[in-house]
């Protein structure tokens, strides 16, 4: 089959515990742009057990078609079970592009599929676009990602094999506005399992997240780093976050020190956030941290060290002691609220 015959943009619509994950909607938003640029369709792949009722939600968020595989074997994510189904969907539909969330599930599944299909996969992309090849005028899928710890960006092509596959971290792409009642096709897909390959079973799943709300959804984040020192320091940030109607997040240093839970961590090994306001307090701004927050709309940095790299990413920088400024700011804003 000629590579020109591969059409449509597929999205792996990740669900956990029957809940479609935010990253699936973010990917649909981007897939919509790509498909429109190519004149192709967006197709979501929804795998799980008792999930088919949620297919319409994927259509409202940008899918033209949803392939649903709904059976007990797919209740929990397991590499081989999911790989068999996604592989069958892809070989049956011959998409030009397939997108996955760069989550622990997506990063487990996508390389397995890439290797089974013998095709290219680009991890943790921050930009996906359809470019035009100068010489030929042909449309070309381009995936841009950070490398060398975020020091370098690379744009990757997959010229000779199909589909072209990429993963994107949660929080990087933007969802479309939900279009209630949007029309699309829901197709039930009956997988053919080779159960002899099922070698892994789940014994236990312990939910460990201590945070009810996700920092990736917060509009305002007051974030603390090494300069916050301890739990008491974070209480000051929390008081400010409360006045601003935001949440507290953390740099890796404070997670490694055991002061904050991992689910509050911003950065390359934590979460990618893009709030309206990101206040970096006592965060030096290692490139791995910047990678997780630099797309925020407005960034304020408070740091004692005027040479801290965080100031190069900030829209407003204050050289000073957060332990004094943060409580004063909190009091000042409280007065404003009372007025």
């Amino acid at each position: 089959m000629d590579i020109k015959d591969y059409k449509n943009v597929y999205v792996f619509a990740e669900q956990r515990g029957g809940m479609i994950q935010s990253v699936a909607y973010e990917l649909l938003g981007k897939a919509r742009d790509l498909a429109d640029a190519l004149g192709e369709k967006v197709v979501a792949m929804l795998l799980g057990h008792n999930v088919k009722d949620q297919a319409q939600s994927l259509i409202e968020m940008g899918a033209d078609e949803v392939l649903v595989a709904d059976c007990p074997e797919l209740k929990d994510y397991l590499t081989e079970q999911y790989s068999q189904v996604v592989y069958q969907m892809i070989t049956a539909g011959c998409p030009s592009i397939v997108l996955y969330g760069a989550t622990t599930i997506g990063r487990d599944l996508a390389p397995r599929i890439a290797s089974r299909l013998k095709t290219g996969l680009t991890a943790d992309c921050t930009k996906l676009e359809i470019g035009i090849v100068e010489e030929t005028g042909e449309k070309q899928f381009r995936s841009t990602r950070p490398a060398f710890g975020g020091n370098l960006m690379a744009t990757i092509l997959c010229p000779n094999t199909r589909p072209q596959m990429s993963t994107v971290r949660p929080g990087v792409m933007q969802k479309r506005v939900r279009e209630a009642g949007r029309k699309g096709t829901i197709t039930m897909f009956a997988p053919k399992f080779d159960t002899s390959k099922f070698k892994v079973k789940v014994i236990e799943t312990k939910m460990n997240c201590k945070c009810a709300d996700d920092i990736a959804d917060a509009k305002i984040l007051v974030s603390g780093g090494r300069g916050v020192h301890d739990k008491e320091g974070f209480n000051k940030l929390q008081a400010l976050a409360d006045v601003l109607g935001g949440m507290v997040s953390s740099s890796r240093a404070m997670v490694d020190a055991g002061i904050m839970d991992h689910c509050f961590q911003v950065g390359q090994t934590g979460k990618t956030v893009r709030p309206n306001l990101y206040m970096a307090c006592g965060i030096s701004g290692a490139i791995q941290h910047l990678a997780g927050m630099e797309e925020s709309d407005f960034i304020i940095a408070i740091n004692k060290d005027k040479y801290a790299p965080i100031f190069s990413a900030a829209d407003l920088g204050i050289v000073g002691d957060l332990h004094k400024i943060v409580p004063m700011l909190t009091e000042r804003l409280k007065k404003d609220v009372e007025k």
């Binding site: 020091n151 092509l157 000779n160 799943t205 939910m207 407005f298 000073g320 004063m328 804003l333």
Partner: protein, 260 residues
């Protein structure tokens, strides 16, 4: 038990800086290290060796200089070290790299294969799962603990964003490991001395069970089209003023941006 650990030599990316004038990566003087997640994987293998008794083989693909991390692995306690080094491997992306590693591993006896979750130079986390697929083995990624049962199955704990899962794997498998879960042991003095008396086996493509057309650049479906240093945005204003003034400046900005 025979355990194979895949490791990689990487530049210490925390030491990489951008040349502010030329806007390029400064790679000189950047130390090469054993990739942290791989070192975690090696530690898991050595813990299993301590616990159950095992032969541990490390394998890496890279230039001749990668010999250094294999010596380090000897000094930590591994039994055998293999360096895959051949011009035919050059320019490999993750698919071609995983194919070469799988081609080497196919010629060895093993009960368990361990790799790091991801390498700090590429951060793809793809080579482990892609290799598992080439070998037709089950995989568990993001591993934080593993034990072997009497019947040869493995009980493996993996860390997800919001949960820790315990899985049982039937027989041979590939595990990809998080550095944070395994604090690597130090090299011993005797181990360091010994490391240089041991032989690192250097294997070319002809030693592997592979189709040579699928190696290196030729076997790589992805191509780097462009690379460029990250564009930093224009820096904002930085104030070094009294705390009172700082508070007023922040409040004014927040109002201006309609954030309060």
């Amino acid at each position: 038990m025979n355990i194979i650990v895949c490791i990689k030599q990487v530049p210490d990316t925390t030491e990489i800086k951008i040349d502010p004038v030329k806007n390029t990566l400064i790679r000189e003087g950047v130390p090469s290290i054993m990739n942290p997640d791989d070192k975690g994987g090696l530690e898991l293998a050595l813990q299993m060796k301590d616990k159950y008794g095992a032969n541990v083989t490390v394998i890496t693909m890279g230039p001749p200089q990668a010999d250094l991390i294999l010596r380090e692995a000897f000094a930590m306690g591994v039994d055998r070290a293999i360096l895959l080094s051949d011009r035919k491997f050059a320019g490999a992306d993750t698919l071609a790299t995983s194919y070469a590693l799988a081609g080497a591993i196919k010629t060895l006896d093993y009960d368990l294969i361990i790799a790091g979750r991801q390498a700090i130079d590429g951060d793809t986390a793809q080579v482990g799962p892609e290799m598992a697929e080439h070998l037709g083995l089950p995989q568990v990624s993001y591993v934080i603990d593993a034990e072997r049962k009497e019947n040869g199955n493995f009980i493996v704990k993996k860390e997800n964003e919001d949960s820790v899962q315990t899985l049982e794997v039937e027989g041979k498998c590939v595990l990809t490991v998080l550095a944070s879960a395994f604090e690597a042991r130090y090299m011993t003095v005797a181990g360091i001395v010994d490391a240089y008396n041991k032989e690192v086996e250097v294997w070319g493509a002809d030693k592997l069970d592979v189709d040579e057309n699928k190696l290196g650049l030729k076997g790589s479906p992805t191509k780097v089209w462009q690379s460029f240093p990250k564009q930093l945005k224009a820096p904002g204003e930085v104030f070094e003023v009294s705390e009172e003034e700082a508070v007023e400046i922040i409040v004014k900005k927040l109002k201006e941006k309609h954030l309060i």
